[in-house]
Point group: C2
Chain length 486, copies 2
């Protein structure tokens, strides 16, 4: 369906996000926004999208569509089969936009509104063709988050809803069909409740914005990123299940645990409805299976954030640094140096629990990083403009290993001379050898990106280790090509 | 501080999670729980923790502590410096537990309560030593999520709070010091508001449990996992900032966008307070920098979930499969086969935007997987008990590449005979060669985990490709050892 045209009415953060998503999915995009800065602002959103969206997929996206800016709405909507309105939340303004749009757009084009809270019936009032207007409410950043709430009204033809779903799916989104009109649809009811509750906490001096953010991102935010509310609670109910969970926290519904004190009666009917819906949603899995899926997801998210040194991942890094203490070469250099000692994390394993091929290189890369630190190639040194880059790697897989197993990498310096650092890593679980990694690194000038000599103090330490290790027998497999017996 | 002792009063999902965390951090753990099934249930939690927690860290944890079960509270608390109460949410029951605990525990031990909502002053009423009892409210799963709300009362000595913080930090948690007592502390006020709002949506037939979960996990849940509420909104305010965001959605505070209609007045004072707190929290970064941090985090989380085929990641996989269509060998086998064509994702790059060393092997691994699919080694074949395992890998890094660049891998079959499949991958950005990967794979019987012959139809297709590729010149670098010029 790429090669089609979308019109964007209002090109701010949300409209710009829509524009970026359509463009990167191969659509031509025509923008109307009276802001004289609109082109620059939308360009900034598009820059962000270009660096982040294409890599989400494991297959290349189609060639980017054409982006044009237009001075009038009639010009912008010309030829568009999708028109996305993202103007401020003022009902009269939105209706005025639809009036102009509908005078000039194709009668079978979809007009989607990014409104956070207005119901489609409200938007459609006074419209020439009410059925053409739907709520299609996205979430910022629109170019990355898949959710879009799709809300038709009774005036909307089923065919229109289906066409809208197909197009949204095609541009990589998840249209959540909201079956009944309600103020603020679904997600924003939660967001609005939390926002109001948060305003109270600040107003009453209970918590700051940062404390509130930490209360979310170090705890339940991590659960909601992967399962949401009900599946999480189904698991929390444990073996006793969803009914038990609801019953356990039933009395709390009457307590002032939030300012939201207008609560439905927790009738048997409502409890049964929830339990049945939860069974339909998650009943294919046992609680134990759900727990493991949840833990796999949480570990994956936490370790991803650790790699970015962000959110809860930054806490994990701080802890590692505290536990690890100072980094120093061992006094005894007559033996290989232990450069990695850790458990195999869940996110390094496949669905059978075996460590993935690429993670062997990640562990060996960590061992190399550690070796660099030990000889003084640390952040301070790198800031002076030099570092080691890996030129070549040879890995031999000898035995399998599972999540949770403690692995140890012992590192030999085979050569440390001139621009070269030649390392040989051996990975063990206990005494069982799992893999070897032979690596040739070249010292590089970070400005020219070309080979260069390391600083003298670095070269000296490296040579000392290489000399000490030279008395050790040459390891099995070193200097061998693929397919040649070690 | 490992080698210390913790007592766990109530060993359900929450108490069991505490027990697992203390144990895996090297503490001895003494459990009291009258449930005859307690030992089995806690064992199940501990199994989950053992597979997930140790790998979170990049350094090995201390040896696990000793776990014992005790018939009485006095016995369980003997020698404990931390006593964690996780019994049901009944105030009288909790007070009764503290009475017995305080008669037998060390007077300077910490008594932490896992209560979701009671204030510490309520818990301390009638206690022998009120100052000894604190709220330490964790989040399920306790062994993975770092957040613990630490709520002292006016009776709590500052020293007690500091000791509690130090111990919680040492076992890998993040103690959020709640400075004022309030029902349900901080996080559970949000959870309770959302829970009540969700009950209305189900009660009124607006949405099912699954639709609600999807409204969370495909949208704002992903934002909250890494930044929370206010930093996300600061970014949404864009160049205009936090004040603009609050002003923009100020009118909505009066609208029925949630059942939480008891709203504080949005005075200039409150707006200034929020804007100032947000500046203190996030003011070190420009909006553009925050946007990129957010996008890095979101891509990392989304791609992590993609690897697990969970949540929003499962949506991405479904889209890839739709776009990709049927998998088939090209008709023309006289050229190398394109096995990967994709953009470099943000989570494959370091802080300078260069692709990480280990991700080259991930891309080559994907190319190998694709080649396996093309010769018929698909899920159906693997289910019959055979597959190819990588025995050896040789990577040469020739040029650097950045996030967002489109890469292409062309694959040659150098040998496809007997149990062996010898592949040579070349990675390009346009015509620029980035790296080569030479891989020896061995066909394996998945039951014995030993080398075995592939099924005849597989062997036949593989031989056909190898034969066709044999007319191509031997690629540069094939058959070379590390450090030997290609």
């Amino acid at each position: 369906m790429s090669g089609q045209t979308a019109a964007i009415i209002g090109g701010g953060v949300i409209g710009g996000g829509w524009a970026a998503r359509f463009l990167l999915m191969g659509w031509d995009v025509r923008v109307f926004d009276p802001d004289p800065e609109a082109e620059r602002k939308l360009g900034a959103v598009l820059d962000n999208a270009r660096r982040s969206l294409p890599g989400l997929s494991d297959v290349a996206l189609p060639p980017e569509g054409a982006l044009t800016f237009h001075d009038t709405i009639p010009d912008a909507v010309s030829g568009a089969i999708w028109i996305q309105e993202s103007v401020p939340e003022r009902l009269e303004l939105k209706r005025e936009v639809y009036r102009t749009v509908q005078e000039h757009c194709a009668p079978d084009a979809i007009i989607g509104s990014s409104t956070s809270g207005f119901r489609p019936s409200e938007l459609q009032e006074h419209a020439k063709r009410p059925g053409q207007i739907l709520v299609t409410h996205p979430f910022n950043p629109v170019y990355l988050l898949p959710l879009v709430e799709l809300v038709p009204s009774p005036s909307t033809a089923a065919e229109t809803t289906e066409t809208a779903k197909a197009i949204l799916t095609e541009i990589g989104m998840y249209p959540l069909h909201v079956r009944a009109e309600i103020d603020a649809h679904i997600a924003d009811r939660f967001l609005e409740a939390v926002w109001r509750e948060a305003l109270w906490l600040i107003n009453d001096g209970i918590a700051t914005t940062e404390e509130i953010d930490n209360a979310i991102r170090y705890g339940f935010g991590l659960r909601w990123a992967q399962m949401g509310l009900f599946e999480t609670y189904r698991i929390a109910g444990g073996e006793a299940g969803m009914r038990h969970f609801i019953a356990q926290f039933g009395p709390a519904l009457k307590w002032p645990w939030t300012k939201l004190m207008d609560v439905p009666d927790l009738t048997d009917d409502l409890i049964t409805q929830i339990a049945d819906q939860s069974d339909a949603q998650s009943g294919d899995y046992t609680i134990r299976e759900l727990e493991r899926m949840r833990d796999d997801n949480l570990v994956t998210i936490l370790r991803g954030l650790k790699a970015r040194d962000a959110g809860a991942g930054a806490l994990l890094n701080a802890r590692d640094r505290r536990v690890e203490g100072a980094v120093a070469l061992p006094d005894d250099l007559s033996r290989p140096i232990v450069t990695v000692h850790r458990a195999v994390p869940l996110d390094w394993t496949d669905y059978n629990g075996h460590m993935n091929e690429a993670r062997y290189l990640q562990a060996f890369g960590d061992a190399t990083d550690r070796m660099m630190l030990l000889i003084g190639c640390d952040a301070e040194y790198i800031a002076t403009g030099g570092s080691f880059f890996t030129a070549e790697t040879h890995i031999r897989h000898l035995n399998e290993v599972h999540a949770g197993a403690v692995i140890r990498i012992e590192t030999r310096v085979l050569l440390g001379e001139g621009k070269k650092m030649h390392l040989f890593h051996r990975m063990y679980e206990g005494t069982r050898e799992l893999a070897t990694g032979e690596h040739m690194l070249i010292h590089v000038n970070l400005e020219t990106r070309r080979a260069s000599a390391p600083a003298p103090h670095l070269a000296e330490v490296l040579a000392k280790v290489a000399e000490a290790h030279a008395i050790l027998p040459r390891p099995d497999g070193a200097g061998k090509a693929v397919g040649v017996k070690g």
